[in-house]
Each structure stands twice: as C-alpha cells, then as structure tokens.
Symmetry: C2
Subunit: 334 residues, 2 copies
C-alpha cells in the first residue's frame, strides 16, 4: 500500500524537500472508517498522528481526513466518503520562503508534500516552517549589513570572521568612494575648515533617514504588503517624508552652521547656513528615495532584497550628502 | 454551564487578552463521550472546533480533549477519563512576546487562556500569535533606526512623519556630538586637510562593523539563544572579531593614507598610515563591543533592546572612530 517515500532523497538546500518527514498514517480510498480507526489505535502509540492521508493505488494524494471527521463518521463508511478532497499540498522543490508565504494564512499542524503529478512524498510540520520563518525574518537586520543568515551566537569566531569579512571589504571600497568625494573638495575644506565639522552631521542624518525608508520597505515586502501596490507611490512617499524631515533638521543644522562659521571671512555665514539647510533637505529626499528603491530593484534583479542593502544605502547617502554639501559650499566660495 | 467569559473585557495593549476569542466547545468533567459527540455534531456546523475544553462546575479548566481521544474512546466513558489533565494555558495579561516565546515549541492550533486561579477565559488561535510574531520580528530593523512597530506601507505620510521625526531629531543631536568632536580637532585638520578625507572611511567602516555585532546580538535575543549564555564571552567574541576585521581593513586604509599624504610636509606619511591602521583596529574593536553591549544593557534596563539601538550605536562609532583617529593624528602633528 505504501507509495515511494522520497524522504531522504536529495533536494536543494532551503527547499521544502529538506524538511520532509514520513507521513505516519496513509490509507487507500476504499478503506472503511472502522478498520482505519483500529489501525490508528496502534499507530498513535508510536507516532503523533494529526491527519490521515488518503491515496489512490498509484500513490496520488486524493484526500485528507482529520480525527474530527472520523468521530462523526459511521464505521462502515469508506474514507473517500468523508475525506476532504483535493487537499492543499506543498511541492518538495519549493523554497522555504515561498512555502511560508502560502501557509501563513492556513496554519495547519502538518502539510502534505506532493510531486507535480500529485504523488504523496512526505509531510512537513507547520512548526518546522514556523521556526524557519522566525529564523529567516530575524536574519534581516544582519543581512542588511553583511551577516549571513546561518550565523548564530554560538558560531565559532573564525567562521563568523569568514562570514562577515568579505562584506566589510566591500564596505571599505564604498567608504573609499565617499572619501574620494571629500578629497575632491580638499581645497574647499582648506579654505573653510568648519565644513569638515559638518560632514558627520550631513552623512549621519541622511544615513539614518535612508535606513528608516529601507527598513519600512523591506518590512512591507516581508509582510506581503507590496503586492498590488504602486511602487512609484511608495518611493514618492519616502521622498516627500525625506524632504520634510530634511527641511526641519536642515534648518537646525543651518542655524548651527551660521554660529559655527561667524568668525571667518571667506563666505557669508548666512549663506553658509542656507547651503547647509538646502543640502540637508535635498539629500534627505534622495536618501528616502534610495532607501525605498534599493530593495525593490534588488528583488527585481532576482537577488534577496535585504542582502547588503544597508551597505549600498550608506554608499549612496554618504556620497550624495557630502558631495552635495561640499559642492554647494564650493560654489559659494568660488 | 458556561463560565464567565471575559472576552471583550479590557486588557492592556499588546497582551494575550486582546487576542482572545470565545471557546466554541466547553463541557463539564462528568459529560459522557457519546453526549459530547452528539452536541459537537451541531456545534461544528457553526464554528471551527479543534479541542474540547473540560471545566469544573466553578469554571476552572481541568482538561483538554482532542478529537483523536474521542475517536478511540467508548461512548459511555466520561470526559475526565480521557482528557489530558493540567493542560498548558496562557494568561490574559501576558505580553505577546512572552506568549510567543512559550508557544513556539508547541505550535498548537489553539491555546486556552486562563486567569491565575485557572478559570477558562477564552482561547487564542495559534495563527493569531504566529502573525503577531512575524509582525514583531519584521519590525526590528526599522525599530533600530526609529521606526515605530505600527508603521505599515499604507500608513499615511503625516502619521509616518509624526512616528519617525522625533527619532531623527534625537539622531540630529547625536550627530552634532560627532561634529563637536571633529570641531575640537579643527586646527589639526587645518594643518593637514587630508585627514578630513579619511573621516568617512573610519566612521563608515566602524559603523557597519558595529551594526553587524548589534544585529547578531539582537537576533540571538529574538531566537532565545542568549539565555544561559555568558554575556561576557559574547562581547569578547565581538571585540575580537572587530579587532581582526579592523586590522585587515585598517592596513588597507593605512596604505591609502600613506599614498594620499605623500605630498605634504607636516608629518611622516608612514606614521600617518600607521596611525590610520591603529585607529581603525582599535575603533573597530570598540564598535564590536558597543554593538553587542547596547541591546544587552537596554534589555537589562527594561527597554526594548532594538528600539533606537542603531542610533545609539552610530553615536558611539562616529564619536570614537573620528575622535581616536583625529586624536592620534593630533599627537603625531604636535
């Protein structure tokens, strides 16, 4: 009676096939309720049974029977008379993430796994998928800055080093780009060194603002909110929020610049303050756009939208904020 | 027969009480299996029944019966003969997060909720807790940079602005601190303006490294790995990883500084390169320590370990990296 159990068969990593177990209770369509109950009486002593799976002689899954149905059935009825037909099932080659998205609204204790022809291959516990889901989502914040999903607190330091170091080298490349922008304006800073003082203000503020937009967008993807939503409207909202937030904090920074640059004679402190405010507003808007756009573009390119997104973002926010600020200041001083 | 249903009663936000529903099937200990099955036959037409809850006359929950037990029982047996005694239950005043941690290993479809005296108050669906869990964990990356848990993609911009703006103002304060550090070394930068060029390298690299340590620690807390683990060893591991990563990237940055500062005469380019390497190694170690320590300290203070942790972290990494780098350079130039 038992079909070909492919449990143990090799499936790609991160697919449902890797989580499959052998189903404990499988019966033919014509089996009587009474005989099934007698058989189950022995099976439940050995294994946890949640559903009875009903198959055709060729092994195709045609129905599921819960104990609820067995309680109300007549012992002489056959399984095909009381079973739930065409039950929901997973495919072994499905990636976890896809499977999790499908089962989140169902939340059954156990899911059958079938091949494309409908043959029952195994079962996956809902709890297993649930733990995997928590594992995946909790990896997101680390993934953004170059930590691998597999890294845990107990991971040995040498392995953590190998996991994290490549991304830190890539990050180093990107911060050198930012440094090159600042280097390009060395003569401007030489004329007015207080400009250097304001670089962390611009970079730090745009960086945090962009990180807000990025996190909100990624979360929307995780919770499935982005489907059927206008991407343009989302990016527009983040741009508008960036502009507003940049204006308010830019005014504060501009006033700071006014007071910080009063002593010098190369440029009007009022104009320097205005340049600071303008740079902040403009670059915060850009950072909002970048934060919302990066994960959308990454996913469209077939990549994980979270991976290294924080590194890409800070590259953009650093270069644009310090570049625009020093560029405007250079124009003023010219 | 029905006990006092406190469903609808006011419980604090984010507690189990808010998610409670009325249990569909509640019977007295002495009820016979046969009569319960007959009663259930009608109830299941109206509502989804997963477990039968068994209470004493005073309303105390004393057992749970699944349909599995009903299948194998004799119709003349009473519920107290087949029920699972002292079933697991939640408390209505429990915060979600606590409840989620307790149920993650159980993964039942439905959980009973009882008061401290054991009276059955309601039930909570596993799926409801599961969705709440996904909602909570997915909020973490945003929470780190000042996005409220409640913000969704569909949140109107005015509300998003009110949510995010206060944290951006706090962030502005912290970046002004970093600016003050740079300002303190204005005369040093005035002597050697290439130092300003390397500020984004130090700040950007330490920032990303600290964010890795922070994310790994927060994730460990979320997955419950931190319990029973030595906090000191965890911080030590992150410090060591920071030092190693900082040494490697610091050598690259040091070589960069050597070439960038060859034209000037105020300080030996070799020494400037060495200072850059030393500052990077030291500050990356500090950033690793800060990343691991911030969430631990925040939780010990009773706060959410993720909230604004990214803002606190970047304050520390910005100030320490730029301060140490410019401080060492100032000593060299003195």
């Amino acid at each position: 009676l038992e079909p070909l159990w492919l449990v143990g068969h090799t499936f790609a990593e991160n697919t449902v096939g890797r989580l499959m177990e052998r189903p404990p209770a499988v019966f033919a369509t014509g089996a009587s309720v009474g005989s099934v109950i007698e058989a189950l009486r022995e099976i439940v002593k050995q294994r946890m049974v949640t559903y009875v799976f009903v198959i055709e002689p060729a092994g195709r899954l045609v129905g599921v029977v819960a104990f609820r149905e067995l309680v109300f059935a007549d012992p002489n009825q056959t399984l095909d008379q009381i079973m739930l037909r065409e039950p929901f099932s997973l495919r072994p080659q499905q990636p976890f993430v896809d499977a999790m998205r499908e089962v989140v609204k169902r939340h059954y204790p156990v899911y059958p796994v079938c091949d494309d022809a409908g043959h029952l291959l195994g079962v996956v516990k809902g709890q297993t998928l649930f733990e995997q889901q928590a594992f995946e989502i909790s990896a997101q914040a680390g993934s953004m800055v170059g930590v691998e999903k597999e890294e845990r607190l107990a991971t040995p330091w040498s392995r953590s080093f190998r996991f994290r170091h490549p991304w830190l080298l890539i990050n180093l490349l990107t911060v050198f780009l930012a440094a090159a922008v600042v280097g390009f304006f060395e003569s401007t800073i030489n004329q007015l060194v207080v400009l250097a003082t304001f670089l962390p203000v611009l970079a730090g503020q745009c960086g945090n603002l962009g990180a807000q937009s990025l996190a909100v967008t990624l979360r929307g993807m995780t919770l499935g909110e982005l489907r059927g939503m206008s991407k343009l409207r989302l990016v527009g909202k983040e741009a508008w929020l960036g502009l507003l937030n940049g204006l308010v904090t830019g005014v504060v920074a501009g006033v700071g610049m006014y007071f910080a640059s009063r002593g010098q004679t190369v440029a009007d402190p009022v104009w320097l303050g205005a340049v600071t405010t303008a740079a902040m507003a403009l670059c915060c808007a850009l950072s909002g756009i970048a934060g919302a756009t990066i994960p959308i573009v990454m996913r469209r390119m077939g990549a994980d939208p979270a991976t290294a997104s924080g590194i890409f973002l800070s590259t953009i926010t650093d270069i644009s904020s310090m570049g625009v600020f020093l560029g405007l200041a250079a124009l003023l001083l010219a």
